[in-house]
C-alpha cells in the first residue's frame, strides 16, 4: 500500500502546540497521518514523540491547535467518548499500563471488562489473543514477572481486545531483545493482515526498525523535520541508512562537528595481565539465577561490549564486578585482585556509570564533580585543575552552575561520564550509557570512549542494546537469560554465524538458546501459529453508566489488595495497635501522684490531715520534706508533684479557733495534671474540715451542710477506655481508609496505569465508585475487628443497637473513603498524599469533632468545622450505641449529615476528576 492513498487521513493535526511549564514539548505541528497504514514517528528521546501520541490517543488534553482523530475533534468530549472504543494506546515503558501483581489472564480480562464484553465473548477473545502471541502457557504468571518482550506482547493483547481501528504504540520495543523485537513486528504484521484498514502509529528510537514502516515522520525539538516513506527520506538525504538520514535532516547547528565514529584498531600487548577477569561468575536471588557461570577476560585498554535485553543479567554482572553485589559463586578479578566489597583501595581504580542517571540533582554540575573528587580522596590542591580538565574534555563549560535535571539527556550522560572519570580510573564500567540519547550526541560520546581507550589505555566495559554501538567494540559478549551465548569480535561473530548483520547473528544465537531451553517441552512462543478464528461480533460498549465497568475496577483493586498483603495487614493491624495506644494514652484520670509533707507541727491532728491525703488512691506518699531547700530540690527534679506545708502550732490554733493556713505547692509543669490535683486536694481539704467540725461542734455544725452526690453516667467507673474507645474507632475509620483510598489513585498516577482510565470508555463515576468499593469493604472489616477488640479484649460494654451502629459505619466509611478520593483528584505524589491526608483528617478529627472537647464548647471556625465534619456525627452515634444504650430512633438526626455527605463527596469527586492528563 502506498501512503496517502487510503482516503481521509486518520489523524489531522493543525498547529498543535504543547508546553510543560517552561518546556515547549510540541511547537506548531501541522500534519496529516494517512489511514490504513503503519506510520512511524522517529527521533531520539525528548523530541515530542510521546507527547504527540498522548494527544492523539486522548490521554492528554489538547492545549493549542486542533487534533482530529477518526474524523472528529478530540477536544470534543462527545466525540472522544465515541472513539474510546475504536482506538487503543500502549504507552511508553515496559508494561507501563499493566498491573504487575495481576496475572497475564487477569490483565487482559480487566481490559475486556472495561470494553463491556460478556463472559463467553471475553474468554474466547482472550484465548485467541494469548494463543497468537504465544502467551497462553504463561496465563497464570504475574505480569511483573514477565520478560520485557513478553510484557510488550501482553500490552498488545490488552490493546487489541476490542478490535481497535487505530492502534497507537509508543516505543513498544525499547529495551527488548532483538528476537522478541522481531517477533513483535511479525505479530503486528499478522494482525494487520487479519484486519485490513486498521491504522497503526508507532514511535521508535531504533532507526533500523523504522525502515519497515510505510510512512515516517522525523521529529526533533518538538518540530517535524521531514515526512515521507523511508525510501523518500533516504533519497532526499542521499544516505544509505536512516540513522545517517536522520543526522542529515537535523539543522546545521545541531549537526555541528559531527562525524562518524572511527575507532583505530587496538594493538594488544602480548604478556599483559587482564584488567578484568570473570570466572564462573554466578548470582542467584532465591531460586532465580540471574547470572549463570559467566566467564570473560578483558585486556587493558580494550573496549568490551555486553549485549542483551533488559533483565538478562547485564546489570547484575556489572554490579558484581564493582563489588556492589557479592557473587554467589565464582570470582571476579580486577588487575588480578579479587573484587571484595570491603576493599576500598580497588574502588579508586574503577569508574562506574549506572544505568539510571544517578548524580545528585540538587547539586550543580561543579558541585557534583567536586564532591566526587573529594570522596575519591584526591589531594584538594589538584582538584580544581582536574575539574577544569574534565570540563574541557567533556564540553561542560557552559553548564557548570546548572542543575543536572535541567540539562538535556546527552549532556547529562557526558556529565555522568566526567564524574566517573574524575579520579582517572583505569577501568570504566558503563551500564547502557547512551540509551535514549540522540544519534549525534551518541557518536560524540563514543568518540570520547575511543580516545580514552586508545590514548589513555583505559579499559572500558560497556553494556548496550544498540547493534551499531556493539559493532564499535573490540569484542562483545551476547547475553541471554543469565548466560553468555558467544564472546568474540563483532566481525567474527557475524562470520561464524554466516549472517548478514550482527543483529541477525544475535537473533540466530537467541533462537538456538531458546530451542535448547524448551527442548522436550511443547513448542513455545515463537512457534505457535497465529490463530485466526471467525471474527467475534463487535460489542458496542455502552455509553453512560455501566455496572460492568464499575465492577471491573472493583475486582482489579480487590485483586491488587489481595496480592499486596502488607498494605492490608498494616492497615488492619495498625488500627488495632493505635486503638490500644490511644485508649491507654489519653487517660484523664490521674492516679498515684507523688506527694510529700513538710510538717512543722507534727501533732496527731497534723498527721491526721496528712493521712487523709495519703489514704486516697490518687496519691502516694514520699519521705517527709525537711526544709524549704529540700522542697525546692525535690520539686525541681519532678520527684514530688504535690508538697504540703503544715505550719507550727497547727493543732493548737485549731483548738483555739484561730485561723490557720495550710500551704500546698503543685507542680504546674503539666497544667492539666495540676488542675486535677488542685481539685482533689480541695475536695479532701473540705471533707476533712467537715469531719473536724462534726467532731468539734456536733449538731451545731450540721446546719448548712449538704451533700453533693456525683453520678457519673454512661461510664460509672469512669474508665478511660470506656470513654475513649467509642471515640477512637471513628478516628481510625477516618484516617486509614482515607489514606488507602487516596494512595490507590495517586499510585496509579505515579506508576502510569491511570492512562487506562484516560483512554478507555470508563466514566468518572464508574472509576470512582469502582475504586471505592473494595476500600469500603476493607474498612467494614476493620470496623468489625475494632468493635470486636473493644468489646471482647478491652471489655468496653456495648449497650445499644449494634445494627444502628453498623449501618452508620457503612455510611461513615463511604464518606471517609470518599474524602480520600476527592483529595486524590488533585494530589500528584505519594508523599504529598500522605501529608495531605494527615492534615485534613487528624487535625479536624482530633480537635474539632468532640473526641476530647465537646463540640458545644468550641467557638468560631472550630465550632463550624465541628458541626459539619462527619466524624462528629459518627462519634455521637458511636458513643450513643456503645455507652448510652441508644438505637436508631434516638440517633436518626446524626444520620442525616452523613447521608448528605455521601452524594456531595461523590459529586465533588466526579467534578474534580479529569478524564485526561495535562
Amino acid at each position: 500500500m502506498t501512503a496517502g492513498q487510503a482516503g481521509d487521513p486518520v489523524v489531522r493535526l493543525r498547529d498543535v502546540g504543547l508546553r510543560y511549564g517552561q518546556t515547549q514539548a510540541l511547537d506548531g505541528i501541522t500534519l496529516d497521518l494517512p489511514a490504513g497504514c503503519m506510520v512511524g514517528l522517529i527521533g531520539p528521546d525528548g523530541v515530542g514523540k510521546s507527547s504527540l501520541l498522548s494527544l492523539i490517543s486522548g490521554a492528554r488534553a489538547v492545549q493549542q491547535g486542533r487534533v482530529d482523530v477518526l474524523g472528529g475533534d478530540i477536544s470534543d468530549p462527545a466525540h472522544r467518548a465515541g472513539i474510546y472504543a475504536r482506538n487503543a494506546y500502549m504507552p511508553q515503558g515496559l508494561g507501563k499500563n499493566l498491573y504487575p501483581t495481576l496475572s497475564v489472564f487477569e490483565n487482559v480480562d480487566f481490559f475486556g471488562r472495561l470494553f463491556g464484553h460478556g463472559k463467553a465473548e471475553r474468554e474466547q477473545r482472550i484465548a485467541e489473543l494469548l494463543q497468537s502471541t504465544g502467551l497462553a502457557p504463561f496465563a497464570d504468571r504475574p505480569a511483573g514477572k514477565l520478560s520485557g518482550g513478553m510484557k510488550q506482547k501482553l500490552g498488545l493483547c490488552c490493546s487489541l481486545i476490542h478490535d481497535p481501528d487505530l492502534l497507537i504504540l509508543d516505543e513498544p520495543t525499547t529495551g527488548v531483545d532483538p528476537l522478541s523485537r522481531r517477533q513483535f513486528w511479525e505479530l503486528i504484521d499478522e494482525i494487520r493482515r487479519g484486519r485490513a484498514g486498521m491504522s497503526v502509529i508507532v514511535a521508535t528510537a531504533y532507526m533500523e526498525e523504522a525502515a519497515r514502516f510505510d510512512w515516517l515522520v522525523a521529529m526533533d525539538g518538538g518540530k517535524v523535520l521531514a515526512t515521507g516513506t523511508p525510501q523518500e527520506l533516504l533519497e532526499r538525504t542521499g544516505t544509505d541508512n536512516l540513522d545517517a538520514a536522520f543526522v542529515a535532516l537535523l539543522p546545521e547547528e545541531r549537526r555541528h562537528g559531527h562525524h562518524a565514529v572511527v575507532i583505530p584498531p587496538r594493538t594488544p600487548t602480548a604478556d599483559e595481565q587482564p584488567a578484568i577477569e570473570a570466572e564462573n561468575l554466578t548470582m542467584r536471588f532465591g531460586s532465580f539465577t540471574a547470572v549463570d557461570h559467566v566467564n570473560f577476560r578483558i585486556g587493558r585498554g580494550e573496549i568490551f561490549g555486553f549485549l542483551g535485553s533488559n533483565g538478562c543479567g547485564k546489570t547484575t554482572t556489572m554490579k558484581m564486578l564493582t563489588g556492589l553485589l557479592a557473587a554467589s559463586e565464582g570470582t571476579a578479578k580486577l588487575f588480578g585482585q579479587q573484587v571484595d566489597s570491603r576493599n576500598i583501595a580497588i574502588r579508586r581504580r574503577v569508574g562506574y556509570m549506572s544505568q539510571a542517571f544517578s548524580l545528585y540533582g540538587e547539586l550543580t554540575v561543579r558541585q557534583n564533580l567536586d564532591l566526587h573528587a573529594r570522596l575519591f580522596d584526591m589531594p584538594p590542591a589538584t582538584i580544581p585543575g582536574r575539574i577544569e580538565e574534565m570540563v574541557e574534555r567533556f564540553g561542560l563549560k557552559d553548564v557548570m552552575d546548572a542543575l543536572p535535571d535541567a540539562l538535556p539527556l546527552g549532556i547529562r550522560q557526558r556529565l555522568s561520564l566526567a564524574v566517573a572519570m574524575i579520579h582517572a580510573p583505569e577501568i570504566l564500567i558503563l551500564d547502557e550509557p547512551t540509551s535514549g540519547v540522540d544519534p549525534v550526541a551518541r557518536d560524540g560520546f563514543w568518540q570520547i570512549l575511543s580516545d580514552l581507550s586508545r590514548k589513555d589505555q583505559v579499559t572500558i566495559f560497556v553494556s548496550t542494546h544498540f547493534m551499531n554501538e556493539a559493532e564499535l567494540c573490540d569484542r562483545i559478549s551476547l547475553m541471554h537469560a543469565g548466560k553468555v551465548l558467544v564472546s568474540d569480535t563483532p566481525a567474527a561473530i557475524v562470520q561464524k554465524r554466516g549472517a548478514a548483520t550482527l543483529e541477525e547473528a544475535f537473533i540466530g544465537y537467541l533462537e538456538d538458546a531458546i530451542s535448547q531451553q524448551s527442548a522436550g517441552k511443547p513448542a513455545a512462543a515463537p512457534a505457535a501459529p497465529p490463530v485466526k478464528a471467525a471474527p467475534v461480533p463487535q460489542a458496542v460498549p455502552k455509553r453512560g453508566f455501566s455496572l460492568r465497568r464499575l465492577f471491573a475496577y472493583s475486582r482489579r483493586e480487590a485483586l491488587e489488595l489481595q496480592r499486596d498483603p502488607i498494605r492490608a495487614t498494616l492497615a488492619l493491624l495498625g488500627s488495632v495497635i493505635l486503638m490500644f495506644v490511644i485508649g491507654y494514652g489519653v487517660n484523664m484520670d490521674v492516679e498515684d501522684l507523688t506527694f510529700a509533707v513538710l510538717d512543722r507541727d507534727d501533732t496527731t491532728i497534723s498527721r491526721d490531715y496528712t493521712l487523709q491525703i495519703a489514704g486516697s488512691r490518687y496519691f502516694t506518699e514520699r519521705p517527709p520534706i525537711v526544709d524549704y531547700n529540700d522542697l525546692d530540690r525535690r520539686m525541681r527534679s519532678g520527684e514530688v508533684t504535690l508538697a504540703i506545708e503544715i505550719p507550727p502550732g497547727f493543732a493548737r490554733d485549731i483548738a483555739r479557733g484561730k485561723p490557720v493556713e495550710v500551704g500546698a505547692w503543685i507542680d504546674g509543669a503539666m497544667p492539666s495534671r495540676a488542675e486535677t490535683v488542685r481539685g482533689y486536694v480541695q475536695g479532701m481539704h473540705q471533707s476533712w474540715l467537715a469531719e473536724r467540725a462534726r467532731r468539734m461542734y456536733g449538731a451545731a455544725a450540721a446546719a448548712g451542710s449538704f451533700d453533693l452526690a456525683i453520678r457519673y453516667r454512661y461510664n460509672p467507673d469512669i474508665q478511660s477506655l470506656v470513654a475513649m474507645v467509642p471515640a477512637v474507632i471513628p478516628l481510625l475509620l477516618l484516617m486509614i481508609p482515607a489514606m488507602l483510598a487516596v494512595l490507590s489513585v495517586v499510585r496509579e498516577k505515579e506508576l502510569g496505569s491511570i492512562i487506562n482510565f484516560y483512554v478507555t470508555p470508563v466514566t468518572r463515576l464508574e472509576f470512582l465508585l469502582g475504586k471505592q468499593l473494595p476500600y469500603i469493604l476493607l474498612a467494614m472489616l476493620n470496623f468489625l475487628m475494632l468493635t470486636a477488640f473493644a468489646v471482647f479484649i478491652f471489655r468496653v460494654p456495648f449497650t445499644g443497637s449494634f445494627l444502628t451502629y453498623a449501618a452508620a459505619a457503612v455510611l461513615y466509611v463511604t464518606v471517609t473513603t470518599g474524602m480520600g478520593l476527592v483529595m486524590s483528584t488533585f494530589l500528584r505524589s505519594q508523599i504529598a498524599a500522605i501529608f495531605g491526608t494527615v492534615l485534613v483528617t487528624i487535625v479536624p478529627a482530633v480537635q474539632f469533632s468532640g473526641v476530647i472537647d465537646p463540640v458545644s464548647s468550641l467557638q468560631g471556625a472550630g465550632a463550624l468545622i465541628g458541626q459539619i465534619y462527619p466524624a462528629t456525627h459518627f462519634i455521637t452515634i458511636s458513643r450513643g450505641t456503645f455507652s448510652k444504650a441508644l438505637n436508631f430512633a434516638d440517633l436518626w438526626t446524626a444520620f442525616l449529615p452523613l447521608l448528605i455527605a455521601v452524594p456531595v463527596l461523590l459529586g465533588l469527586g466526579v467534578a474534580f476528576l479529569r478524564k485526561q492528563g495535562n
Binding site: 574502588r347 570522596l375 575519591f376 494514652g585 527534679s637 484561730k658 500551704g663 505547692w665 480541695q682 489514606m739
Partner: protein, 370 residues
C-alpha cells in the same frame, strides 16, 4: 571511618535539603506556625462547658446557685425539667446536669443535710473531672455564704492556700508549646532521614556512592550529623523566637543543657528514621509505619498525659523509647529550671538508647544496601 568523607557527605545532604522546598516548608511550618497555633488553640480544660439545672426547689438559694455559673468556664445554664434531662444528656447536649431537690433550702437550714445530685456525662473525660470539681466548689461556696447568715461560727478555721509552681497560672499554652517542640523534634528527624534515604534509593544515587571509596558507616553517620544539626538549629531558633518570643513562655532553665539533651535525642531518632526506611522499602509503607511509630511515641511518652497514670507495663515498655526520657528532661530543664545534677540520668539513658539504635540500624542499613 574517615572524618573527611563524613563531612563531605554531610555537606552534600545539607545542600540537597536546601534545594527541596517541600521539606524546607515542612521544617519551618513545624517549628513556627504549628507550635504557635497549637499553643494558642489549647483550650482551657474547662471552656464553655454545657450545664443544665433542674430546679425543683425554686427557692432563693436555688436561684443563687443558678446565677453562679457563667462563661467562660460554663455556658449560661439551661433550665430544664426532670423529664428533659435524660433525652438531653443522651443526645450529648449537656455535659453536666445539676439537680436541686424540692425543699432543698428548708432542709438545709433545718440541718437535715439534703443532697444535690450532679449528673456527669463521663464519656467526656476531659471535662468530667475538672468540671465536677469546679461545680462542687462553686455550689459549696454559694451554699456556705448563704448558710453563714443563719448559723453561728461553727466552722473549722483552716484555710488551704494552693500555689502552683513553675507555671503559676497553669497556662496550658506554655505546656502545649513545649510539647509541640518535642513532637516536632521526633517527627522531623525521622521523616528527614527516612524519607531522604528512600528517595535516594529510588533515584539510585545511594548505589552510586557505594562504588566509591566510602563505607556504609560513613554514609550513615553523615546523614545523622547533617539532619540532626538541621533539627537542632531549628529547635534552638524556635525556642528563642517562637516559644520565648512570640508566645512569651518564660523558659527557666539552661538552654545549653536542653540543647545537649536534644542532640542526644536526635542521635536516637535519626537512627530510628534510618531503621524505618530500611524496613518499609517504599514510600506508602514508610508512611504507614511512620504513623504506627510516631503516634505511640507522642501519646505514651508522657508529653500529653502523665506517665504515672498509665498502666505499669506501658510505663516500663516506654522506658525504651527516647522520647520518654527527653520529655522528662525537657520538663525538668525548661519548666523547673533543673540543672545537670538533676537530669544526668535522662542524658545517660538517651545516650545508651542512641547507641543501641545506632548499632541496630547500622546492621540493617548494611543489609539494605546489598
Amino acid at each position: 571511618m574517615r572524618l573527611r568523607n563524613i563531612f563531605q557527605l554531610g555537606v552534600k545532604e545539607l545542600r540537597g535539603l536546601l534545594r527541596d522546598p517541600v521539606m524546607l516548608v515542612l521544617i519551618v511550618y513545624a517549628f513556627t506556625l504549628s507550635i504557635y497555633t497549637s499553643s494558642r488553640a489549647m483550650p482551657e480544660t474547662l471552656n464553655r462547658a454545657a450545664l443544665a439545672i433542674v430546679d425543683e426547689d425554686q427557692s432563693p438559694l436555688s436561684a443563687r446557685i443558678t446565677t453562679a455559673f457563667y462563661p467562660p468556664y460554663f455556658l449560661v445554664p439551661n433550665l430544664i425539667t426532670q423529664q428533659e434531662m435524660d433525652a438531653r444528656m443522651d443526645a450529648g447536649l449537656e455535659t453536666f446536669v445539676l439537680n436541686v431537690p424540692p425543699n432543698f433550702q428548708r432542709d438545709l437550714l433545718a440541718g437535715r443535710a439534703p443532697t444535690i445530685q450532679l449528673n456527669v456525662d463521663a464519656t467526656r473525660m476531659s471535662q468530667a473531672f475538672t468540671g465536677g470539681g469546679y461545680i462542687q466548689s462553686i455550689v459549696t461556696s454559694e451554699v456556705s455564704e448563704f448558710a453563714n447568715r443563719y448559723r453561728g461560727d461553727a466552722a473549722v478555721p483552716v484555710e488551704l492556700t494552693l500555689r502552683a509552681r513553675f507555671n503559676q497560672e497553669l497556662n496550658k499554652g506554655w505546656f502545649g508549646a513545649v510539647t509541640q517542640v518535642i513532637n516536632a523534634v521526633a517527627m522531623l528527624s525521622i521523616v528527614l532521614t527516612g524519607a531522604a534515604l528512600i528517595r535516594e534509593r529510588e533515584h539510585g544515587t545511594i548505589e552510586h556512592l557505594l562504588v566509591m571509596p566510602v563505607t556504609p558507616t560513613e554514609i550513615m553517620v553523615s546523614k545523622i550529623w547533617s539532619m540532626g544539626l538541621v533539627v537542632l538549629l531549628a529547635t534552638a531558633v524556635s525556642l528563642v523566637l517562637v516559644v520565648r518570643g512570640a508566645l512569651g513562655v518564660p523558659v527557666e532553665g539552661s538552654m545549653a543543657l536542653f540543647l545537649l539533651g536534644t542532640a542526644l535525642q536526635l542521635f536516637a531518632t535519626t537512627c530510628l528514621g534510618i531503621f524505618l526506611a530500611t524496613v518499609g522499602g517504599s514510600m506508602p509503607q514508610f508512611g504507614l509505619l511512620l504513623m504506627l511509630v510516631l503516634l505511640p511515641l507522642q501519646m505514651l511518652s508522657g508529653a500529653s498525659t502523665p506517665r504515672e497514670s498509665m498502666p505499669e507495663i506501658i510505663q516500663i515498655i516506654m522506658l525504651a523509647a527516647p522520647n520518654t526520657h527527653f520529655v522528662m528532661l525537657a520538663q525538668s530543664v525548661l519548666f523547673r529550671g533543673a540543672g545537670l545534677g538533676v537530669v544526668w540520668p535522662q542524658l545517660l539513658a538517651l545516650l545508651v538508647i542512641g547507641c543501641v539504635f545506632f548499632a541496630f540500624s547500622l546492621r540493617r542499613f548494611k543489609a539494605f544496601l546489598r
